[in-house]
Symmetry: C2
Subunit: 114 residues, 2 copies
């Protein structure tokens, strides 16, 4: 466990928007446009946070045509695996994440995006 990396790992979680994003991604891969729609945030804001999460090693991305899909990295560092477990147990308890997830269900979640 490297301290600077650990601090950075925690720092990635110390923002509400990013926690909300992770709350959505816990159920599986999502496209930027879906995250934007659910969180009702401008594209640049979402994109910036996703970049932060990716740089911190929390998420991975893949491009499919013009769409970018993001997913949580399941086999990160030991610390991250521990924390991921904590997130899975605690994030769904949050009213904000509950509302976000319900809004996500309201969208047509097929794989070709909007």
């Amino acid at each position: 466990m490297i301290m600077k990396t650990s601090a950075r790992t925690f720092k990635a979680l110390s923002d509400e928007t990013r926690l909300r994003i992770l709350g959505l991604l816990l159920d599986g891969e999502l496209c930027v446009c879906d995250i934007m729609a659910v969180l009702q945030l401008p594209q640049s804001t979402v994109s910036r946070h996703l970049a932060y999460l990716k740089n911190a090693g929390w998420v991975d991305d893949r491009r499919c045509g013009v769409w970018m899909y993001y997913s949580i990295i399941e086999n990160g560092s030991t610390l991250q695996r521990c924390l991921l477990k904590v997130l899975r147990e605690n994030l769904p308890q949050s009213a904000v994440v509950v509302a976000d997830r319900e809004r996500l269900q309201g969208f047509s979640t097929d794989n070709s995006c909007a």
Copy 2:
């Protein structure tokens, strides 16, 4: 689980100095002067970080004469209890914390402080 509070809980952990402090406190209550000596940091720096940890609900303090002792709060929020478990499992793996703890053993750790 309240999002703003959670982000703040994580934020308290997103600094190397504060992780080091918690690494020391995992073994039990310590006085500010001990933490200062071990981390070899100025008093104002240590005091500031301890205040941050206290405000974030991670540590508690008690005064004993001119000395202030800090300890980790064991029965905090659900999230904090989960994270505390993660810290106990992961912090001692850090070389920095190992060195800090060894330096701490090198001091006379009676209860009347230096």
